[in-house]
Amino acid sequence: MKANLKYNLAWLALMVAVFVLIDACEFFGIINSFIENMLVTIGINIILATGLNLIIGFSGQFSLGHAGFMAIGAYATGIITQNIATPLGFYLSMVVGIAIAMVAALIVGIPTLRLHGDYLAIATMGAAEIIRILINNFKITNGAAGLFNIPPLVTWATVYVLMCLTTIMTVNFIHSRRGRAVMAVREDEIAAEAMGINTTRWKLVAFVFGAGTAAIGGSLHAAYIQTIAPGDFNIMASIAILIIVVLGGVGSITGTFVAAIVLGALDTILQNFGTLRMIIYSLALILIMIFKPAGLLGNWEFSFKRLSQSRKKATVHD
């Protein structure tokens, strides 16, 4: 119990330290609006990719529809905060977005999660496209033009705190009774069933959980960028999140962080290259995959616990 407290405090200290660091950089003007934009994008991408990694890396279900659930969160915030332009309105909109995204994930997941591998991927992609096309045609979402002038109710600090919160919740979920059941489904469905694990249920839990976090990412995106259109949430958006997950290492949350930061930084640096930007980006993607097929970190995970244990071992050996 005490040891657990120690590790939890270590994580808390790390989160506070990074916050203070960013805040100080803001204060001293090291971070301009350009860099801040990059940091916020990285934060939102981490939220989105962590949720997708839970679905793909931990429950082993290949979903290509993450942007659909992100869209639900974004539009919930866009529509509600245009009417209630207060921070409370933002959080309300986020909760509404999460709820709708989770219901949508249930509706999509119950039938499709019976499918396997690429079939599931293509079905979830189809479902996300259906969500996007509906948004594209509804009046309340302003059709293909999208929503403008969404009140700016989100700062980098909001994104940072929510990024920390969703990551903590996701990681805690993975390291619980539920997370292990979810991983059992990934490892061997037949064996899991024979152990009394209701595979359909646990797949669905991971899928719905991931959809909920995607909605949080969408809400933050809408409130920070202030403009959203259905085209922002197409297949390419889902693929962009998938790239972060695979590049970092499927099944590694640490990897997701690293990949989101690397890609975010790369994107910012490449802004100077104009049209060559995407060519360099795609070449980098191909080369990283060829030389690091398991992603940057494989399934390695950073852990204060392991760190302190290996240090203890080292002192014993001395």
Partner: protein, 292 residues
């Protein structure tokens, strides 16, 4: 009845393009279990090749079609050699991301070289519209349909009758066992990419003729739709891909005809999901159950 007939013809023309593209997806998937995301972009390259050889070298239709097929076959083989072969024993999701990377590279490379603007495809054949039983049928539509059907029959013959086709089928069933009986895996996979890419190249030229407009991003949406078509037909199955392609084309024009064009893609995806739920491996796909 008349509109129905008209939509049937439009749907079949569009469907044959999807079918040609779907064949490439299904063959590659069948043999190395990879969703070749760059396949739609090979189709775009085929269209651009057509554009340049018609304008620059004044090729006629047949020559354009054949040269585009050869050009795309070479590109397909090169992509497989450089991007996918090093990853053959890696996790499949890694190869998928690489394929997406190749797709981005082709799209952005072409945008960089030839600008993102759409350009009009030269009319190598004069358009003639026939009026039969009150239906408008253009010679372009007939050529598309005819060429597509001819290519599909040829493909079927190659797969069923030739030694290489037999090797392809063997590798699709069991790569290890195929190697044990002396089949060269690398050659077979290269050949599969060549065949699939040639089909895409032909589709690119045909779509250029049909829609008159080409641009570097033109492969994205049809590529995804053709993959959906391949899945509907049962991925890995050649007749399935043709059927899926025609079905998708007919469905799209049908939905458009009843005034729901804004929802045409949604309907296609909905049908896809329903088909997968009823037949989890598509119409002609084989369902493999794991043995305990």
């Amino acid at each position: 009845m008349q509109t129905f007939g008209q939509q049937l013809i439009n749907g079949l023309s569009l469907g044959s393009i999807y079918a040609l593209l779907a064949l490439g997806y299904t063959m590659v998937y069948g043999i190395i279990k990879l969703i070749n995301f760059a396949h739609g972009d090979i189709y775009m390259l085929g269209a651009f090749w057509g554009y340049y050889v018609i304008n620059g070298l004044h090729f006629n239709f047949i020559l354009t079609l054949l040269s585009a097929m050869i050009f795309c076959a070479i590109i397909g083989v090169l992509i497989e050699y450089f991007a996918y072969r090093p990853l053959r024993n890696s996790p499949r999701i890694t190869a998928l991301i690489t394929a997406i990377g190749v797709s981005f590279l082709l799209e952005n490379g072409m945008t960089y070289l030839f600008s993102a603007n759409a350009r009009s495809f030269p009319q190598v054949l004069p358009t003639i519209t026939y009026h039969v039983l009150g239906l408008r049928i253009s010679n372009i539509q007939l050529i598309i349909l005819g060429t597509a059907c001819l290519l599909m029959i040829l493909l079927e013959l190659v797969i069923k009758q030739t030694k290489m086709g037999k090797a392809m089928r063997a590798v699709a069933v069991d790569p290890q066992a195929a190697q044990l009986v002396g089949i060269n895996l690398n050659h077979t996979i290269s050949f599969t990419f060549a065949l699939g890419s040639a089909m895409a190249g032909a589709a690119g030229v045909l779509i250029g003729l049909y829609y008159n407009s080409i641009d570097p991003l033109m492969g994205m949406t049809p590529g995804i739709k053709a993959f959906v078509a391949a899945v509907i037909g049962g991925i890995g199955s050649v007749p399935g891909a043709s059927l899926g392609g025609f079905l998708t084309g007919l469905l799209e024009t049908g939905v458009q005809a009843i005034g729901l064009s804004a929802y045409k893609d949604a309907v296609v995806y909905f049908v896809l999901i329903v088909i997968l739920l009823v037949l989890p491996a598509g119409i002609f796909g084989k369902k493999l159950k794991e043995k305990v």
